[in-house]
């Protein structure tokens, strides 16, 4: 697959009255890429997607999709895009079949191809059982699947999915993810989510957005790698004979390296003490801590390294601004 830039966004900005929802963001998406927009609620994900789909007009900045520009070529761009809005608000009074036929007609699919297309989509999205049901009777997950079928009906080159798995149960989430991965082999997909594991599981590249600004733009792997310098370790110790001297235990751990930070997280009634250890720039801290503890009579009841998940990175990136503000307030 050739890596051609398909979507190019420059200095995109959207204001709602005085509130700036999206603040001069820039990014590019290549053909065949699955891009995840990640951010807390109200970060500007949906607004960005709505501008890409032509639902909102940008306050300023440019969106270029395959040499077409918004707003001049909005109609042509709409033909390239399949869009699943957040929570897939479909027409409630229509049957699923009628609805999809209506969408197919609007999207100018040839009459003789509609039946085949519907069959294909119904097997891909698992709709065969519900084709004759009114949309209003569908569960959230089924509704979402119809929404996906709606987005894919015209074989669009670009799929834009706003929170495709929100409100679904874990089985449905796995299913929808599988579908997205499958389609993503051929198509460009932009999806938004506030669930990190989802972005990690499905996306080739992640944009983390906070307060309308892009705070990180990289592959999930790189994002994790760059944040690897700090490791968080949870260690629980106890001793059958006597209570542990906390300060002594701390000193033992600190003897490995002065930069290690040791905090007491919890003290249980049974004498188990849980520490959180933050080790920066130390090779294989787990091994060193183990060796240090080995020489004492402590019993290790829990010992684990918090995998530096995207969760931490996300949390760090999206709360930094907040902390600064709080500090200024003080």
């Amino acid at each position: 697959m050739t890596a051609v830039t398909q979507i190019e966004v420059t200095n995109l900005k959207k204001n709602y009255n005085n509130f700036c929802a999206v603040d001069k963001i820039n990014f590019k998406v290549k053909t065949g890429e699955i891009l995840g927009l990640l951010g807390p609620n109200g970060a500007g994900k949906t607004t960005t997607l709505r501008m890409l789909t032509g639902f909102f007009e940008p306050s300023s900045g440019n969106i270029k999709i395959k040499n077409l520009k918004i707003p001049e070529d909005t109609l042509k761009i709409k033909k390239l895009i399949g869009y699943l809005p957040e929570s897939a608000p479909l027409y409630h009074n229509m049957l699923v079949f009628d609805y999809l036929v209506y969408v197919a007609k609007i999207k100018e699919i040839a009459k003789d191809r509609i039946a085949d297309k519907l069959k294909e989509l119904s097997s891909l999205c698992g709709l065969s059982e519900i084709m004759h049901k009114p949309v209003s009777e569908l569960s959230k997950g089924l509704n979402q699947r119809v929404g996906l079928a709606h987005a894919m009906i015209s074989d669009p080159e670009i799929l834009i999915l706003d929170e495709p798995t929100s409100g679904l149960d874990p089985n449905q989430i796995v299913e929808i993810r599988k579908i997205i991965k499958n389609i993503g082999k051929e198509k460009t997909i932009i999806l938004s989510t506030h669930i990190l594991s989802e972005a990690e599981a499905t996306c080739d590249r992640i944009l983390i957005i906070d307060k309308g600004k892009i705070v990180a733009d990289d592959t999930p792997k790189n994002l994790k790698k760059n944040a690897k310098t700090e490791s968080y370790i949870t260690l629980s110790l106890n001793n059958t004979n006597h209570d542990i001297d906390v300060e002594k235990a701390k000193d033992i751990i600190k003897s490995i390296d002065k930069s290690i930070i040791v905090k007491v997280e919890n003290r249980s009634d049974k004498g188990v003490i849980t520490f959180t250890i933050i080790a920066s720039n130390i090779d294989d801290p787990m091994k060193k801590i183990y060796l240090a503890i080995k020489g004492t009579d402590y019993i290790i009841s829990e010992f684990k390294k918090e995998s530096q998940s995207l969760e931490n990175i996300f949390h760090k990136l999206t709360t930094e601004g907040l902390q600064e503000v709080q500090q200024e307030d003080k």
Binding site: F55, Y83, I106
Partner: protein, 234 residues
Amino acid sequence: MTQIRHIAIKEFKDYFTSPIAYIVISIFLIVTGWFFFSTFFLYDRASMRDFFLLLPTIFAFIIPAITMRLLSEEMNVGSYEILVTMPVSLTDIAIGKFLGATSFVIVMLIPTILYPVSISFLGDLDLGPIIGGYIGAILLGSAYCAIGVFASSLTRNQIVAFIIGAAICFTFTIIDRVLFFVPGALASIIEYIGANSHFANISKGVIDTRDIIYFASVIFLALFGTYLMMKEKN
């Protein structure tokens, strides 16, 4: 163009898949039937004049009830986002919805053809005014539909859309009754703005381009307003 057709057909079908169509048509037939035939035999005249005199007032309330959901409901449910992001222009949406509602109004008028048919058994019926009356009714109906679509684009609340629509349509219907109170210079302008005089001309069987242009401009202005409202929401 095909998009307009698909939207219009969908809107038209929607009326009949929900109880709205049946309720509205029944109410329309009961109200027109009662008001028309309760005095029909007193006048002892084989004509539909009273029916067409009555129509603008009834339309002013019935049509906003038909059109109130067209855009408000979509905005309320959120399907508006789906509609707008499909490859259709805002103009397509406005015209499609308008045509859907207008076709419904035409269907609603069809059962009333029974009135002239039964009257023709009672006496000599002049066909001219009746054909003119129906053409006028369709023009008036479409103008009110356009106003209704506009009212529906203003709010996501259907009841509010109905009240706004009915208020505008009713104003167009009765404005020429205040002519008595206004100075002469204004009178002709107000008479031109009101829908009644134009409708009355056509329903006499006089089809004048000026009246047709009047209805066409009302439709155009209302749909243009709808377009602007939708654009504003972007």
